[in-house]
Symmetry: C2
Subunit: 701 residues, 2 copies
């Protein structure tokens, strides 16, 4: 782990390239640093001045009489290496390079950047950036603002790290509106050396950072990200926006799985597997962040809604339903208590409608009754200012109730006049309850609280080791390798699946019609014939699959036809046998599973199969090795779950067997990392609910 | 059409139940009316005072010496009928009843309410409410505020009508934050007499109302709503929130279609068919409203994005992609022009990244080049305040450019400091460009502009009359009626479908094995046998469907088995024949179509069929009679469209035939409105892309 303590907690900083020119980066940096009430010394470096903005200025960092913990460099790109060398010469081991003109502008800039990183690595220098906005540490005993955002960042509990420096600036501007504050901000810039993983590990240890908000465009190292994020997300929420979703990342591939594995789809699986909460839109990221900043995790999912108007109550109910959040079923006891404090026309069902004339005291009484009720886990308070203003009083009451019921999240929606925010600041300065203008933003945040509670309840992730015949699989792979086969034949693929305990129909391999007949006799008619060839990849394209063969006569007829076809296509030589397989009947529900290797990680796919794979794209990915939790989540991740239950003419399938099948596939690539693609497609469910993998395809490196 | 001119444009109003008590409804009403600079006379009515809040007060409306156009009544429910009679006695023909205690509290209140409405109807009195917030007409020559929301409503071009009065109050509070203004507000209350349809027709004629925002919980009359909304939406946008989505409205039903027809699903179809834009969340409603208030409709869909930071550009691109909005492909000419005005490091691809150092002038130049470019239809301008503030200057430029390029929508996102809104108010007071904090809100609004442009481009709706054999269908219905059959037998249903030109496989009806063999010979083996019974509804449940009969022998065998089964089940008497139908082969794509009668309107359903109907719920509804446009939109409305194209092992189907099939079903219920349910399920697509309806079910009243 990289030690960034000094970088974020300096006692002295130097701003190299400081400038008196208003609105210049060198000037803004200096202003932000001084305005922040930095608990340390600030120096400017610029050969032209003795002092800038009241800060002593030196011609070079080497001239500063005090040891410097962090140098912030804003000089032109070409000068930066020299500046870093100067820093090193006076033992400055933390540099933040805000200058641009490096890798982001192309090859020439990349050379400059590499030189700096090489020098830094050789001399144990921490380098943040280049091409970044800088950093902020808002801890009261530090107050370090080393960035050029136009205003100071509201203090809070959030660590915000971003690959887009400008975005940090934009967000810092919006913090008061978003009602959140930052503990630290790190603008990653080009991540030439320090990257997001270093920052996550730093924040893991920092008690001031209670949640992490991350904007990234790419993940530096999938496997390390997974390891670090999985560990950290057990302790602190990680909220991520990953931009570049619309980019098409699927590579040319011979498997279904490969053709469906876009970069973003697999990133989604990585986040889900690592306990990271992925938001799609910035708006939602910050709404969730507000709720996480100000709410405990709930004990259960049951939401109670209090409102002084029916319409918004219905809208909130609709929205809770959209997010699958159950409304608490209020007990008779709770209802009686509510009746005792509310006007006769009030509704004591959930949503509780205290009606428009409700006083602040009635709101307080009703909300306390609900917070006390054991059937309520989460409280949403909606207030519309109609006749007689109660918003400030209600927030005051809620803040008191929060202290009294610290384990139940309270989220509020105020449809009130725009002066509310300013009034709250003076009247209830410590208000620490999320407030929104609209129900959907509140409920979105609540849904994330529930999601996180559920994630933590899963406990530690387990990757079970299932009993398989690894030795047998190894023989098949060795044999294929010896023959120079990269894409295993159908026979070989089925044999590997069989060795790994995947749910195949009965099958055997025949070299002669006699053998085929014996196998068919053993497994019983009807059977399927499948060509197993070293070269023919799409069996059905050349008519290499014959289904529903009902008798020995039909078998003979079709066997000869197949051999004929092979002769005509000059493919006899590449044949390694014909698979005789039990005909699966009563199976009209098709799933699909598969694995694709992307970079160093295998990605397992699961979802709706058949012609619906492409048409509906109800598929999801998780990185391998799959944990039991990953397998279970994957089953729930798409609408595929809806066909695994009881359907007209078909029994429910055992989801434990589905999960086990996915785990067996994952174990296969863990044991044989040279596998690049697997299709277990289609994966049928028959009318008895049995899971059967009807075809197999394995490709190796 | 109800004449509400005087109600909304009064020259004199009386507030009955006016009160000096602060925060009381009677006091708030009086204050709002006087503060609004009403262009007319205001009178208070209260026997206890001669004057309230500086307004002359009379004991009864009959004592007021001036004729009164509108009476606003805020007295207790029990007194209201008397007050209305008083009003009538002095020829006051428009009353707004804000008092509550009517239908919303139960039977007793309903009686009071009915009495008032009966009296009003008998005396040509317009009644708004009861149980409402009142009305606002912000027209400069009227300035009528007849409601008790706590503040005046910002002026603007929107008509806002709501079934929840409190919501109107909440929204009026938020208008400055939402950056929109109201031309008129109508709180509908209990809609005892005046309902949403009256208001829509009133606004249709009012040039001050340029768009309608509507919050409803129920639709008073589906058919009239469709007629009125379809007409109006050609002229003005109608944006609707319909609350109560989560309510389960599907009735017990014997058809698939019926079991899937929830109230909200069919309402969604009604809105789509009527050109109404339905928003799900209030937040989105008001974001869309802002865009509609300040933007023309675009000529095309192509979006250009200007940003001073890469990250937000990528996020905007992702979001545009989510909404299927294409990014304009900038021409070389446009790129050259951009290069000439922008710094070297700027990106002239779309999104155009003018980089962080861009001046307001560079923003202006780049945005003008894009607005001029013929390949650009819509412009999204993103500005993050980083070093050097340009937000105000940029908005000033954009406002000028809007005047210069009035036909291209410009939408802006500013991630700037919270003082921006106040600064704009003084610096660019006429700014009439939508501004948001986040890209997604801007792009959501843009997507609605495109949706509306596309809707208007469809032209007038047509319900084609297709050639059918109505006479033959009539005979079958008459025959069924004569037999007392409500659910037509399979035979009858198929015959009706046949008469209406639906795409059936070849079939015939046999009473004897001999007949069956003749039919099978004619249509060719393999065939299917289907029991056609007057009582057996679920054919397959008693094994009444035998598929894949390949020969005369098999036909004989199965015919006898069927007859046996019927004998055992004592069902022979109810038999009206056995259908012999061509076996459809190569069809593994299943759609579903059907119709259900709800109230007075027939709702046509279309979507993914087979086991996926329930599992995936990829279905949508449209009201009958279906227009050609409805049929086309319905085909696009769900993921069913993805299986109608070319899929592995299947050719694309002709969408015109799909549309025609839906229109024929619609025509069937138009001609025979006594039909309550139809299932055309499954509706298969075979490997050649042919659409084939394999089964039919018709239920009548």
């Amino acid at each position: 782990m990289r030690d960034l303590t000094k970088m974020m907690h300096p006692k002295s900083i130097a701003i190299i390239g400081a400038s008196p020119k208003q609105s210049s980066v060198g000037n803004e940096l200096l202003k932000r640093a001084t305005e922040a009430h930095f608990n340390g010394q600030i120096f400017a470096v610029n050969p032209k001045y003795n002092e800038i903005e009241g800060v002593p200025c030196y011609p070079n960092i080497v001239n500063i009489p005090t040891p410097i913990d962090v140098a912030i460099i804003a000089t032109p790109a070409a000068t930066v290496l020299g500046v870093v060398k100067d820093c090193n010469s006076v033992n400055v081991k933390n540099v933040i390079i805000v200058s641009s003109g490096f890798k982001e502008i192309g090859e020439q800039g990349k050379i400059l950047q590499d030189e700096i990183v090489n020098f830094a690595n050789a001399n144990n220098i921490n380098v943040l950036g280049p091409n970044c906005l800088g950093v902020i540490n808002n801890a009261d005993d530090v107050n370090f603002n080393g960035c050029f955002a136009p205003i100071q960042a509201t203090k809070g509990k959030i660590g915000f790290a971003t690959q887009s420096g400008a975005l940090a600036s934009g967000i810092i501007n919006l913090l008061p509106t978003l009602k959140i504050g930052l503990a630290q901000m790190v603008s990653l810039g080009n991540q030439a050396q320090i990257n997001i993983l270093d920052i996550m590990e730093m924040w893991e240890q920092d008690k001031n950072v209670e949640q992490m908000l991350i904007y990234i465009e790419s993940i530096p190292d999938n496997a390390r990200f997974r390891e670090i994020a999985t560990r950290i997300s057990k302790k602190k929420p990680i909220l991520i926006i990953k931009a570049g979703r619309s980019e098409r990342g699927a590579k040319a591939s011979i498997s279904h799985t490969g053709s469906l594995a876009g970069d973003d789809t697999t990133a989604a699986g990585l986040f889900a597997s690592s306990g990271v909460i992925r938001e799609i839109y910035l708006r939602d990221l910050f709404n969730t962040a507000q709720v996480f900043s100000k709410c405990p995790l709930p004990k259960g999912d049951n939401l109670a809604i209090v409102t002084n108007a029916g319409g918004p109550g219905i809208l909130a109910t609709d929205t809770a339903n959209d997010y699958s959040i159950p409304l608490a079923n209020l007990s008779d006891e709770t209802k009686d208590k509510l009746r005792a404090v509310l006007p006769a026309q009030a509704s004591v069902a959930n949503p509780v409608d205290v009606i428009a004339s409700a006083t602040a005291e009635q709101y307080e009484a009703a909300t306390e009754i609900l917070l006390k009720a054991k059937e309520v886990d989460i409280l949403l308070v909606i207030y519309l200012y109609i006749a007689g203003r109660n918003d400030i009083e209600i927030s005051r009451h809620l803040e008191k109730l929060k202290a009294k019921y610290p384990n139940k999240p309270i989220v509020s929606v105020y449809m009130t006049t725009p002066d509310f925010d300013d009034l709250v600041k003076t009247e209830v300065p410590d208000l620490d309850i999320p407030t929104f203008n609209f129900m959907v933003d509140a409920i979105h945040g609540i849904s994330r609280l529930i999601e996180r509670k559920n994630y933590l309840a899963q406990g530690n992730k387990i990757t079970p080791i299932l009993p398989v015949n690894q030795k047998r699989a190894n023989e098949i792979f060795e044999n294929a390798k010896a023959q120079g086969i990269k894409q295993l034949t159908t026979m070989q693929s089925l044999q590997v699946f069989d060795a790994y305990g995947l749910p195949l129909p009965k099958f055997g391999i025949a070299q002669t019609l006699k053998e085929a007949k014996d196998i068919a006799d053993q497994i019983g008619y009807p059977v399927v014939l499948k060509l197993s060839s070293k070269t023919v990849t799409h069996k059905s394209d050349i008519g290499g699959v014959i289904t529903n063969i009902k008798s020995e006569e039909e078998l003979g007829f079709w066997w000869n036809r197949l051999v004929d076809r092979l002769n005509k296509a000059n493919l006899v030589e590449s044949l390694d046998g014909i698979v005789v397989m039990q005909q699966v009947s009563g199976a009209n529900r098709e799933l699909v599973a598969g694995i694709i290797k992307k970079g160093d990680t295998h990605q397992l796919m699961f979802g709706l199969g058949g012609i619906f794979v492409e048409a509906l794209k109800e598929i999801a990915f998780r990185p391998c090795p799959l944990t039991l939790q990953d397998a279970e989540n994957l089953i729930d991740a798409t609408k595929a779950k809806n066909i695994m239950g009881f359907v007209r003419g078909g029994m429910a399938t055992d989801l434990r067997i589905v999960a086990e099948t996915l785990l067996r596939l994952s174990q296969l690539v863990t044991d044989f990392p040279e596998i690049t693609e697997i299709d277990a497609n289609p994966l049928m469910i028959d009318d008895k609910g049995r899971l059967i993998c009807v075809d197999a395809r394995i490709v190796t490196e």
